[in-house]
């Protein structure tokens, strides 16, 4: 048994159960006397509810209960992150109720819930509910929704505007643009996406009348936050009377951060049944209509600079579609997490961004892998390419010329968090962008691209090369930012860890973070094993249950490795220090004379006088010889709040070939050089990058959530929404540079989102590069064969 596995490609401890069919996801759980819930969802995107007749449904076989909005005594779901945070910017907030009462704002908003003995009976009864609808006019496009005459969704939101928020230097940027040698303008659509974790959401609610306590099993990234929000904002039940458990979670990508209507529904349903557990499992088509979507920006971009390639100004106006009502942190995504990193890895002196959050008759939009940062990267990386094309410069050269130099850190970007109101100043703390660019270019054979394009033409293909140099603000992070700066969600962002050492020397680590496939049980064991000098096999990592784990804010925003790991390291440090003090007692030496080498605690200069960690744990547990004032047992908890976010970066290069006859785009080569700092488990890091990159490729080439003008979701099933398939992809080529993060003791940055942040722009740039011979300047995503073929035909027609 090797004790020090930190930084090694260690096989995951989670996998044994998952490869043998013994994982335990919510739908795998069966409880005694469990009933089943199904939800009636609106077939209209915008309608008033005149009346609901549930009598026929109630008479159906097996039906135990039917609830409508009026039966739910709870508050609307919380919207926790307004644009501008607590600083006072006006947000016209409408958040969903557990079940709609008077009107619906999107196809799929829940209006009634049936509870029956079996799932099939519940679904059958849902169809027997008669709703008297009054359909209303609809609008699904965020820009159109703000125009005069557009259908109005909410009385308190004139022109369907949730907020109008801006950041940066308005006048300075205007002057930079007005006085620039070259200005390039472009309208960009960052299309709506359906996140598609393979496990849909689902939950089981159980009310125990004997204790007046609620338990909910939920497929969630944030069980502790959900308990807090359900208690304090939705149900009005004391927090200690609610227990949230997330068993194995089958992927999430942001979708499972939020408070959803089904949580209070299954808990109330169980209470109304006198304590029978009630299960609700979301179908896939239902998920497409009822779980959050991502992205959906329309952006007007202006980039200004000199003919020598120096960029002097960047201005954007973005319409962010937030859906028919607001999800938990919807407004925070296109503001703080988007516009504040808009200038990316570039030294652009003047940046101004205006963001309009908009209601439309679509399901709510919230954080999807990358959350704001992929949208920002897409804007700036398309802008760099458009500007380079305008002045006839190599896209690699324009990036190189404008990178923030390595000696400029900590760097305050002009729209960044250093300019936020309030106390905290968050800067980009580290970076060295050029080596990653150089390495990526070399791997991609960038210098030979002209020859490659010529060769492709002999095969009826147009070859394109696209770059994406990105930074990411992740490892979110400091409570002083997220809580106090006047821009956050008024909550903390620390993490927690508890370590208990049994008398046998076996270790239980409990964490406040919540995995969804990232392998936390492995990586935390690697860290704690390293800190305590014990083998991973002696450690078990527990999480995901508010009963028995310390409070934590969950896993999203690539924060677990930076914030959670540091909490685990601190807890292990406390354990080690107490063990050291006790070793001194056992060895009759002074504490200062005890040196620790792995699991061995020995007296300096007397190598034979030593105790093992296991011997110390045993003696300290039995405690018959504990010195005065020392508590028995090794059991320590640590909380960690970081001084800063982390700032991964890198350059990705995509090479595509377009078939001239069909417009089909093939991704033929993909190179990624990422700097995510040090790595706890490089195998897991690679896996995170692979998955993120392919999700971003999916956006560039295939994926798109499409609503008809009537608000019907046309991409309403997996048949209609084009998810990446194995046969559509090449092997990805990964490499790295390593610039350790200064904000945590192991120098890690987080990697869950990096791939998705970088790859969309790289592939889109490659396709647009391939289309240059047609005189095509920009095509919006997804760059499907139809889109590309039509553009090529139109260009040929124009040239003829």
């Amino acid at each position: 048994m090797t004790t020090d596995m930190l930084g090694k490609r260690v096989k995951r401890v989670e996998d044994q159960r998952l490869i043998t069919g013994k994982g335990r996801y919510v739908d795998d759980i069966k409880l005694q006397s469990m009933a089943h819930c199904a939800i009636l969802r609106s077939p209209y995107a915008h309608a008033s509810i005149r009346s609901i007749d549930t009598s026929a449904a109630k008479a159906m076989p097996g039906v135990l209960d039917v609830m409508v909005g009026a039966d739910i005594p709870y508050n609307p779901l919380p919207m926790a992150w307004p644009a501008g945070g607590s600083a006072g910017l006006k947000n016209n907030v409408n958040s969903p109720r557990a079940l709609a009462t008077d009107s619906v704002k999107w196809t799929g908003e829940g209006v009634a819930a049936v509870v029956a003995e079996t799932p099939e009976q519940a679904l059958d009864a849902v169809e027997a509910i008669a709703v008297d609808w009054e359909p209303l006019p609809t609008v699904v496009d965020a820009e159109k929704a703000t125009q005069p005459g557009a259908p109005q969704l909410h009385e308190n939101a004139p022109s369907n505007i949730v907020f109008e928020w801006s950041v940066g230097d308005r006048d300075g940027t205007a002057a930079a643009i007005d006085g620039a040698e070259v200005v390039v303008r472009q309208r960009l659509v960052n299309q709506r996406l359906i996140p598609n974790p393979m496990e849909t959401r689902g939950d089981i609610g159980w009310y125990n009348p004997g204790t007046d306590e609620y338990t909910i099993w939920m497929s969630s990234q944030t069980p502790h936050i959900q308990r807090l929000l359900l208690a304090a904002f939705v149900m009005g039940v004391p927090e200690h009377k609610i227990r949230c458990i997330s068993p194995d979670v089958g992927g999430a990508f942001g979708t499972k951060i939020f408070t959803y209507a089904d949580y209070p529904i299954v808990l109330l349903a169980s209470k109304r049944l006198g304590g029978r557990p009630v299960k609700w499992i979301e179908g896939r088509r239902e998920s497409y209509q009822a779980t959050i979507h991502g992205r959906d920006h329309i952006t007007y971009l202006e980039i200004a600079g000199k003919r020598d390639g120096e960029i002097t100004g960047l201005r954007v106006k973005t319409y962010a579609n937030l859906g028919g009502r607001l999800s938990t942190i919807g407004p925070g995504i296109p503001t703080t997490l988007y516009a504040r990193v808009l200038s990316g890895c570039y030294r652009i002196p003047h940046v101004f961004a205006e963001v309009v959050g908009v209601y439309t008759n679509t399901v709510f939009v919230d954080a999807y892998r990358g959350a704001g940062r992929p949208e920002a990267t897409y804007v700036v990386e398309r802008a760099m390419d458009l500007f380079a094309a305008e002045i006839g410069m190599d896209p690699a050269e324009i990036r190189r010329r404008n990178f923030i130099a390595p000696d400029k850190f900590p760097y305050e970007n002009p729209s960044g968090l250093g300019t936020a109101s309030g106390g905290a100043k968050i800067y980009i703390d580290s970076g060295n962008y050029e080596p990653a660019l150089d390495k990526a270019l070399a791997m991609a054979g960038y210098a030979d691209r002209a020859a490659a394009k010529g060769e492709a033409r002999t095969r009826g293909k147009y070859l394109g090369v696209g770059l994406s140099s990105y930074i990411e603000v992740c490892g979110v992070a400091p409570s002083k930012w997220i809580g106090a700066v006047g821009e956050g969600w008024g909550a903390a962002m620390w993490e927690s860890a508890n370590i208990k050492v049994h008398l046998t020397g076996k270790v239980v680590v409990t964490m406040g973070t919540q995995p969804q496939g990232q392998g936390h049980e492995t990586t935390y064991a690697q860290i704690v094993g390293h800190e305590l000098g014990i083998p991973m096999e002696d450690i078990v990592v527990q999480h995901s249950d508010t009963q028995g784990t310390p409070f934590g804010y969950g896993s999203y925003g690539s924060r677990t490795s930076s914030v959670g790991s540091t909490a685990a390291i601190k807890a292990a440090g406390k354990i080690r220090e107490k063990a050291r003090r006790y070793a001194a007692h056992m060895l009759e030496a002074s504490v200062d004379d005890i040196e620790v080498d792995g699991a061995e605690y020995r007296v300096k200069g007397s190598p034979d006088k030593k105790k093992t960690f296991q011997e110390i744990a045993f003696a300290l547990d039995l405690a018959f010889d504990a010195p005065e004032g020392m508590e028995p047992y090794l059991d320590e908890t640590a909380y960690h709040d970081t001084p800063n976010c982390t700032w991964p970066f890198g350059t990705h290069v995509a090479i595509v070939e377009i078939d001239e006859a069909t417009g089909k785009v093939d991704l033929v080569k993909y190179v990624a050089v990422d700097d995510v700092g040090n790595k706890i488990n490089p195998m897991i890091v690679d896996g995170q990058l692979h998955g993120g990159i392919v999700q971003g490729v999916g956006q560039a080439l295939w994926e798109g959530a499409v609503y008809g003008d009537d608000g019907q979701l046309l991409s309403g099933s997996m048949l209609d929404y084009a998810l990446p398939r194995a046969s559509w992809l090449p092997n990805l080529e990964l490499d790295e540079t390593v610039t350790p993060s200064p904000v945590n003791p192991i120098g890690v940055k987080g990697v869950g989102e990096a791939g998705a942040i970088a790859s969309t722009a790289a592939v889109a740039n490659a396709v647009n590069d391939a289309l240059k011979p047609f005189g095509i300047r920009h095509l919006d995503m997804p760059l499907t064969p139809q889109t590309v073929w039509k553009a090529m035909q139109a260009a040929k027609g124009a040239q003829a």
Partner: protein
């Protein structure tokens, strides 16, 4: 209106009474508590419910339970033997071929179908063999690596 279904699942004869509309995947999950076979869509696109039926892989959401009457079904729970993990299971573990694990059982069963047809597949053949199985976590790369590695193990076993 229950229908009677007799079938062999993972080598064990089973007798089940089901509603006529019951799907094979529901029979496996609900009636037999074999929850390793997952449901991730409702349009037979995702492949999470893939099992083998009389030796060939099927999406068990496209098979009515009554159609499996008399059949021999293998699920992910039937892949490991007393000798240990199936080479595919071992290779998925060794090569980080899974993250959240939700698609993994179906992915392994589809790969088993491929390896039953050829033990020396090219990467292209592997990618096409699993084109009916969605994975949202891995970008498929380590799944392809795992299947290639499992094929090598199977070939070595056959040669040995």
């Amino acid at each position: 209106m229950a229908e009677h279904v007799s079938l062999v699942v993972n080598g064990v004869p089973r007798e089940v009474d089901v509603e006529p509309r019951r799907l094979l995947v529901q029979l496996l999950r609900e009636d037999l508590d074999l929850t390793g076979t997952h449901i991730a869509c409702d349009t037979s696109q995702c492949g999470a419910c893939t099992v083998t039926l009389d030796g060939k892989s099927v999406k068990s959401c496209t098979v009515l339970a009554v159609q499996a009457d008399g059949a021999n079904v293998t699920t992910i729970e039937g892949m490991a033997t007393a000798d240990g993990l199936h080479p595919l299971q071992a290779a998925f573990w060794e090569n980080h071929g899974l993250q959240c694990g939700f698609c993994t059982p179906g992915m392994i069963m589809s790969a088993a179908d491929l390896l039953a047809r050829t033990t020396d597949p090219t990467d292209d053949e592997i990618r096409h063999a699993i084109a009916g199985n969605f994975c949202r976590c891995t970008g498929y790369q380590n799944i392809v690596t795992a299947i290639r590695a499992a094929a090598t193990t199977v070939r070595a076993g056959a040669a040995g």
